[in-house]
Amino acid sequence: MLKYILRRIAYAIPIALSVSVVCFMLVHIAPGDPIDAIVPPDTPKDVVEQVRKDYGLDKPLPIQYAVWLGHVLQGDLGRSIATRRPVAGDLILAARKTFVLALTAAMFGFAIGIFLGSLAAFFKGTWIDRLAVSFAVGGVSVPHYWLGMVMVIFFSVLMNVFPAMGAGPGDWQWDWQHIQYLILPALTLSCTPIGLLTRTVRGIVSEILNQDFVTTLRGKGLRNRTMMLHVVKNAAPTILAVMGLQLGYLMGGSILVETIFSWPGTGSMLNAAIFRRDIPVIQGATLVLAMFFVMLNLIVDIMQTMIDPRIVRK
């Protein structure tokens, strides 16, 4: 099994490198001279040429990539055109806030989704099932930027129970003063994982319940508690995979919800950068979020291997 895990890690390296290539290319697909994407428009000519040299932009693309990758590996993601500050520092602060939001939304969404999905599977074909399925379709169909606005209208404007914007004063802390800011965006963001988890859990659990071995388990006279353990362990690899993907999507896809709630995370940072065409920020944020996603997938893969004995054999 250790060998398999090492092989998975080895396989993730070329993926990570390819991801960095795609991020590197973002500067080059932007219209115009890539140097314009790195320095502000009012920079003196000699400084521009100096930067061009530093980044190796006068050299062929592969060499440029190597130079850029060297910078990235040392934690240098370039400077923001708008603020002139290093991208990496701001990004870490923002990523922490996004992580708080994404993780909360994910945990809430997973709990509700798994609950509804199992309920639907055990009562398949009844009104409980139909209700859970409708809820799930709603969850995956709703544009969450719209849902966010509706939340603000109800809970901030009409009822005035939760603040509509920001993440509270100063650094993030797990106290009510800050958590009250988290509730609406996290609820909004959780609708997709609720929908997807409900669908997935319902599908996999009802599939497992239809398998022959469940008849064997009943035939052994096992109590429901013990049977549940079998269902959970069989369903876990699939559900874990979906949960991993979802957490990654929430991290990388929170831009719209962060924009609605002015949540000061990577999404708001990206939004501002898009507005100002601040390409180094777009590039840096994309790279960090995508790398997080690659890591997350790797962890899920390894966890699956530990649960399902059949994977190693493949």
Partner: protein
């Protein structure tokens, strides 16, 4: 021995129907859809919306770009404006009808292009196998390493705003999943006994693809593509919400939602109208593709 692979798409539509049974199979699908009330209702709603947005220039009550400062942010049902007016005094109903043209176009086009490109690449990878498969699937893996919204936003953000760039970036996002689905469907069909026997009787690769593979893989790939439309509609409006789609004053649902955000305090219902349009469209497409998938699943 394969592990539980329920996350992979449902390909049952492919495996059970031999090439000779196509007519009967599709007739069966048709009759199952006709009995499915929810699917029919969703199809009906989408058809009405489609007609409204296509014929907008002839049936819309006002000019979508002509506003009036005196009639700003009037509520739903206000004097001759069935759905009120927006922040520049333009008729909401008119703008929603015109806006739908862009939302639908930017939502559906990327899926259609990705269906053609991703479908072909996936079928190629699945049918040829070997090195070609390796190459295509590894490239797909790279794009799978990005969360889809992030990839679309990043590419679109780098390219700059505009409908063309939005469609381009979304197409890039939807090609990889379509490749994966069509590859797995094609691989499973390729290994079926009757394809093997066609190969054994000396049929050419082209004949096998045309007669035995295509008719059996197109259905499942198509159904999968329809499930993407709902995601695509949300993403398309999302991009233009971020200012990456159409340019003002052109109406588009996502952008209208953004510009009306300032009005959520004074006219909450009005401000959410474009979002309701996106929600209804995406919900109907979702339910429609669910119904279609159910009807095409031979096991039922």
């Amino acid at each position: 021995m394969s592990t539980a692979s329920t996350t992979s798409p449902d390909i049952s539509g492919a495996s059970a129907s031999g090439p000779k049974k196509q007519q009967g199979y599709w007739a069966g699908v048709g009759s199952r859809v006709r009995r499915d009330k929810i699917t029919l209702i969703c199809g009906g709603i989408l058809l009405v919306m489609f007609l409204l947005i296509v014929f907008a220039p002839w049936i819309a009550p006002y000019d979508p770009l002509q506003g009036s400062m005196a009639r700003r942010l009037k509520p739903v049902g206000w004097q001759g404006h069935l759905l009120g007016t927006d922040e520049l005094g333009r008729d909401m109903l008119t703008r929603l009808m015109y806006g739908g043209r862009y939302s639908w176009f930017v939502g559906i086009t990327p899926v259609t292009i990705a269906f053609a490109i991703g479908g072909s690449l996936g079928i190629l990878a699945g049918f040829v196998g070997g090195k070609v498969n390796m190459l295509i699937m590894r490239a797909t893996d790279v794009f799978y390493a990005f969360p889809s919204v992030l990839l679309a936003v990043a590419i679109s953000g780098a390219l700059g705003p505009g409908i063309f760039n939005a469609i381009l970036s979304m197409t890039l996002v939807f090609i990889p999943p379509l490749i994966r689905v069509s590859e797995s469907v094609t691989t499973s069909v390729r290994n079926l006994d009757y394809v093997e026997s066609a190969r054994a009787t000396g049929a050419s690769a082209f004949t096998i693809v045309r007669v035995h593979v295509l008719p059996n893989v197109m259905g499942p790939i198509f159904v999968y593509a329809t499930t993407l439309i709902s995601v695509s509609m949300i993403l398309a409006s999302g991009l233009s919400f971020l200012g990456l789609g159409v340019k003002p004053p052109t109406p588009e649902w996502g952008m209208m939602l953004n510009t009306l955000r300032t009005a959520i305090y004074s006219q909450p219902l009005l401000a959410t109208l474009p979002g309701i349009c996106i929600f209804v469209t995406s919900l109907c497409f979702n339910l429609l593709s669910d119904g279609l998938r159910g009807a095409m699943d031979v096991r039922n």
